[in-house]
Symmetry: C2
Subunit: 462 residues, 2 copies
Amino acid sequence: MSKNTNNSAIPYKIYLQENEMPTHYYNVRADMKDKPAPLVNPGTGNPVTFDDLKPVFCDELIEQELNDTDRYIEIPEEIRDFYKMYRPSPLVRAYCLEEKLQTPAKIYYKFEGNNTSGSHKLNSAIAQAYYAKKEGLKGVTTETGAGQWGTALSMACSCLGLDCKVYMVKVSYEQKPFRREVMRTYGASVTPSPSETTEVGRKILREHPGTTGSLGCAISEAVEAAATSDGYKYVLGSVLNQVLLHQSVIGEEAMTAMKKYGIKPDVIIGCAGGGSNLGGLISPFMGEKLRGEADYRFVAVEPASCPSLTRGRYAYDFCDTGHVCPMAKMYTIGSGYIPAPNHAGGLRYHGMSPIVSELYHQGEIEAVSYTQTEVFEAARDFARVEGILPAPESSHAIKAAIDEALKCKETGEEKTILFGLTGTGYFDLYAYEQFNDGNMTDYVPSDEEIEASLATLPNIEG
Amino acid sequence: MSKNTNNSAIPYKIYLQENEMPTHYYNVRADMKDKPAPLVNPGTGNPVTFDDLKPVFCDELIEQELNDTDRYIEIPEEIRDFYKMYRPSPLVRAYCLEEKLQTPAKIYYKFEGNNTSGSHKLNSAIAQAYYAKKEGLKGVTTETGAGQWGTALSMACSCLGLDCKVYMVKVSYEQKPFRREVMRTYGASVTPSPSETTEVGRKILREHPGTTGSLGCAISEAVEAAATSDGYKYVLGSVLNQVLLHQSVIGEEAMTAMKKYGIKPDVIIGCAGGGSNLGGLISPFMGEKLRGEADYRFVAVEPASCPSLTRGRYAYDFCDTGHVCPMAKMYTIGSGYIPAPNHAGGLRYHGMSPIVSELYHQGEIEAVSYTQTEVFEAARDFARVEGILPAPESSHAIKAAIDEALKCKETGEEKTILFGLTGTGYFDLYAYEQFNDGNMTDYVPSDEEIEASLATLPNIEG
């Protein structure tokens, strides 16, 4: 515990004051010379318009989705008040981890898990629920995989008095009954997907009887449910530009806290499934880099079992299994790809946020992948010294941060590392049990498997 | 969400600065004219001495246990550094709950759940593990019921490099496998109790084959394991004076935060099982009251199924089922009492901390009890507006705070209510599921049942 002794002026955990919290979302697209490619209408092959999206999304959220020019978008006061229920989130110096690793590196993490949804997902859930309420809707529909997004949305809807219909990937619905109960406690209805309640669900069940579902299926069902229910719109927890915009509060708070104490990160690391956490964390730093004001390295960390950045293709693809959504140009391993069922963590999505994809394509972001056993080893080591039991998703970033710190140990460099600790693993103990019992297995798709999946990509020019 | 808008100078959540955190534990016994009755040696019937306790407890902890004269006891710097990993805990203004209740009362809660153990238990676990390490021990033994204390201790031991042996009440071991996995992830060994690993465990199993265990059984086993293992001592998560001493950091932080912003609570409410949270929260305020410097009301809240204060007797009783521990004078419903198995929450202990018992006996504390269904209703209502999913134990305090606030609504009084929100319910979703499904049943013991249990009290004069 010796290194934990902190005699500097910098607190162990930096909490901003409420009046230092961001008042505007930062829109990184405004600072990108080459913008992310637009979503396209799967029917016409043309870029989507406001009117294309109107049946599914709320008006103000469509405007945010399509806005790639305004650098700052004001956060309504009601949302800022809501954020004060659980934000600002702490920026923590990982003294004990540094000591365990015997590294000269300085490691910081932005911890987003201190709320009942257990992750950063609440940042966008609140915003999306707020705009839905403002538009006079009765409720919203969504999908959830591991359950963090569904939990966050049910919390936001509960506070705002909105109905919330969640389509939960069937395998998660059965394996994570406790997440389901959190959502029910907040008043949400939770349906295992694919279900008989939608046309696309019935079609998927006919074609794949006995399927345990996927995020792509659940998205299709939630979109159909919104489009066919009066007073309902659809909301999504990752991938979309609007979601990364809302998540920019993570990076803005981290940047404010670091500047307040004169800390400059050399490398910024985030786990990447759909890209919402990574995009939110890096956005304001990326803005400085794109404007030539500062230099940073950015690292996206993904699971070896679902490697969209490291082994996928940058191309237009469907966002959902039922092909009812607009198509996005993104790094993808194909919308038909279903990660191995032994995969314990989240980050199972076949594609990657168009913003993150374009930045990766431009070489502004690096990417690495890890197998789940090495990720859980990092999670255990982190938990034992830093106290917090991390989510499997977040632990991908921990693993990469540890590797960066160990490189510093070899070279003697005193780099400053910042990573996003997106959430807690309290609902992932089944996976920890597998790991503790030595029963965890790793899966890495073969080149043939990925090629076969990529062969199903639609033929659209970006 | 309107009332949530906070334009005053008081933040929504008050986080102290690290340099405002307490440097000393506050020992309320120093300000009590009539001291809590001493523990007695079950063999001799005499007050325990340092030497009586030495085979089981660490030296410095025995000194704290027996010290009823020093008002302040310094917190070693190593422990204060450890506290900085998850403290200070926020003092939160429950604006949304106030608005939902339409009460003129101002409700604050001190939230202790933002750490992986999920509760305030870590405050004492760290202190006890620190003194064990300082004494050069190999490890510690303990019992755990719902698992919060065991989790907290395994976290503290993991950070300090101590071995940790946890005896977990068998019914919880089976019903809460995820708590068990958290402890295992932190490197603890977890044994379901009663077990074949101790003499007292074997005896209990012979006499009560098929028993699902109780805290009292698990305490007996953990004490025996410590007394018979070289380099091990026993540690306990509640009831003892030393534990309430460590938990005084809760009340000290709350008092500092309130004074900083000119807030004076009229009534202070805590749930009470063994009394550690309640005792810690109220201690410094009680000190002011006992010294005649300020006036406060204090309310202990217990489950109707295990009503030691409201229906028990103030008498010497055994602390454990195996009768291997010292006896304590406390409010008790008898060491043989086993709460109904349908009881979902914690707070199942048959006795109450001697400090809390004596203060209650003196009329300084009030007590109320609630059935679990009404407690879960309060938990759900709180979660839906305040965001946090509370532990069943903590929800007893929520229920009492809501009732106080509703009384203010009737009378128009603008009282300030402070309650302790001791932890989160992330590992209690099985109970929430029962509640959500309408399958929760309440149990209130009959007078005959309590009388029969009290008839087993030992005949010791206090």
